[in-house]
Symmetry: C2
Subunit: 378 residues, 2 copies
């Protein structure tokens, strides 16, 4: 596999680690949080805000972008970077998760999954091969393989069969990737995904077999799907133990600030989650002192800013009283400022985590910050 990850430092008392992912002239310090831009836009946040907060990589979603605007449009514009005018990195999820969570009818075979669009009910087939092809058209820096996101809870047999199928898909994806090439002059890297529901032996075996196939990085999928947090951490622990040290490890769709800090301690390098932007739209703001439910009447006369510890425009320049007014009044600016802040908070969280790993103070800091955040200002 090509080397896209440099390990800089591992904690002495945990698996927490700091590294750098580098490709296409971009250096991404890890642990990293990647904002989710499903349809080619991080909701309510413009590109300049993302650059100002120094996000180097965002997500796009193959399922959504394939359905709308579609491969023909994406091909015309020369890929997702050019389409949305973003020259930093993009990771595209394969769309497997969305096929299983959004579309009603679906039929899974060794060839792939047949499903109906959640937009207009039209029929489509996602195969390991055509999902690679679509991501070649998207031109994402990091390409994800198609997998079945095993539902939670699942019987052992279902999880095992699902794993066996997804492993076949993974090999097909690997082959399709190796037999195709980048379309827009940008290096692309292929990540495998490990599932296995909540069964440690399946999780372990799955990751081992993915490593045998060989990918540029390894993702852990099918977590934060309703299971208790401790169970999630157990599964992460099993997986990170099996992923080679020199490979980036990506925990998909996770999670709360606490989830992220615990997973960093277990050796995860990369995160994505809709939580900061989605919760901002609902009026929940994350801060270094806990969560703020900004619509609460107690903020009506509050002169405090959201969080003086976060160095971001939205975090420091407006009173909670004004922000509450914007939320209560249904002003779009509320969503803009809330989303900007929550993303800046997540950025601060992983940047600070990295600093603490580098000085080998991670565990102590994690306990302190979790304690401070659990004061529940709501």
């Amino acid at each position: 596999m090509r080397k896209l990850f440099n390990l800089v430092k591992t904690s002495t008392n945990s698996r927490a680690r700091a590294g750098i992912i580098h490709f296409n002239g971009i250096n991404i310090e890890t642990p990293v949080f990647m904002p989710v831009g499903t349809l080619g836009s991080v909701k309510a946040v413009d590109h300049r805000n993302l650059i100002e907060t120094d996000f180097k990589i965002i997500l796009g979603n193959t399922y959504h972008l394939y359905l709308r605007p579609g491969n023909e449009v994406m091909n015309h514009f020369g890929g997702l970077h050019k389409f949305i005018n973003w020259d930093r990195a993009i990771l595209t999820d394969s769309g497997g998760y969305q096929v299983f969570s959004l579309s009603d009818l679906r039929k899974i075979t060794e060839d792939g999954v047949r499903f109906q669009s959640h937009i207009d009910g039209s029929y489509h087939l996602f195969s390991p091969e055509n999902v690679i092809e679509t991501q070649r058209i998207l031109g994402s820096d990091i390409v994800m393989v198609l997998d079945e996101c095993t539902p939670y809870p699942s019987e052992y047999k279902y999880a095992k069969d699902s794993m066996d199928l997804s492993l076949k898909w993974a090999q097909k994806s690997r082959n399709a990737f190796d037999n195709s090439s980048t379309r827009w002059g940008r290096d692309q890297f292929l990540f495998g995904i490990g599932q296995g529901s909540m069964y440690k032996d399946l999780r372990k075996s799955y990751v081992q077999q993915m490593v045998d196939i060989g990918f540029d990085g390894y993702a852990i999928g099918g977590l934060s799907v309703g299971e208790p947090a401790d169970m999630m951490y157990e599964m992460v622990d099993v997986c990170t133990a099996e992923i080679p040290e020199e490979s980036p490890r990506y925990l998909m769709g996770v999670g709360t600030p606490e989830n992220i800090l615990e997973a960093i301690e277990l050796g995860i390098d990369m995160f994505d989650c809709v939580l900061p932007t989605r919760n901002a739209r609902n009026g929940q703001l994350f801060t270094s002192k806990g969560k703020i439910n900004i619509k609460n009447a107690k903020y009506k006369f509050s002169n405090d800013c959201i969080d003086e510890n976060i160095n971001a425009y939205a975090s420091n320049n407006f009173s909670l009283g004004y922000l509450r007014h914007l939320y209560i009044s249904g002003e779009i600016l509320a969503l803009q400022l809330g989303s900007q802040h929550n993303l800046a908070f997540y950025k601060w969280l992983v940047v600070t985590a990295r600093e603490k790993i580098l000085t080998d103070d991670y565990r102590q800091w994690k306990l302190e910050i979790l304690n401070a955040m659990n004061q529940e200002i709501i």
Copy 2:
């Protein structure tokens, strides 16, 4: 009256004029377009975008801000500028228009207008005096008198009686303003409003009587309410002829780019309108070559930007294909970029108008740009 307006140049072949409004350390070049920030936020646009586009003055609305967040909150925060963290100028409309357009039940007497809140049905009285008091609390740089926005169409007698009542209110407003003082150390200026429906003699007499009372500036209200454009221009013409040259003239709630250019030619200095932001939210973009209905399928593969003549981030950095995709997908970023662009276009329109007035080429330029804009790209 205090001098807040310097006339810099009047066209030789029309009443079009360039000037400067100055107060509280702010210089506002006229003709000026003022973005509408009804509830203390210009919808979908953050303050930094407004500053980047160099808007020096925005609107707030007394009716809306009185109901939500209310005078107690506004008093606590030290006025609207501090509440929203905006140190440039603010003009607050008196709320008369909203009482007559939004609230169901209302009863008008010489004392004021009793109405029900459109939010919760609660009863309130707006009097000429308490509307001044609320604007003292808001601390707006330009304060508007309470008036009845005469409905269109109105019988002559209704319009005459309405005028007589509003003139009494205007005198009461003047007195209340003179007998109160600024609360937050910011100079405040009082503008009168002339109504008169579509009757030239009422319009003329109304403005004359407002001038007799004496205000820092004069607004023309009750236009762009459904009448033909030519009728609006006739009324504007009658009014601007009566407003002293040394006073700023403000045409309220107008309008389309064409309306604005025609009214500038008739001697108007100040404009406000929700059109650029509201239409942006509906997918209509104004450009120097005409209007774009961005949801139209013809833009699916368009590499063009919105308008290369407008020097603004949203106007130049994204393809119509991407913008269409954002609109069709219901992304909030569409509203942000569309609103930013439309405001930048309105800014460009009045800034260019001013340049052309200064070089005495206004009329010729107006014909050319109207011709270009009528190419209807929709």
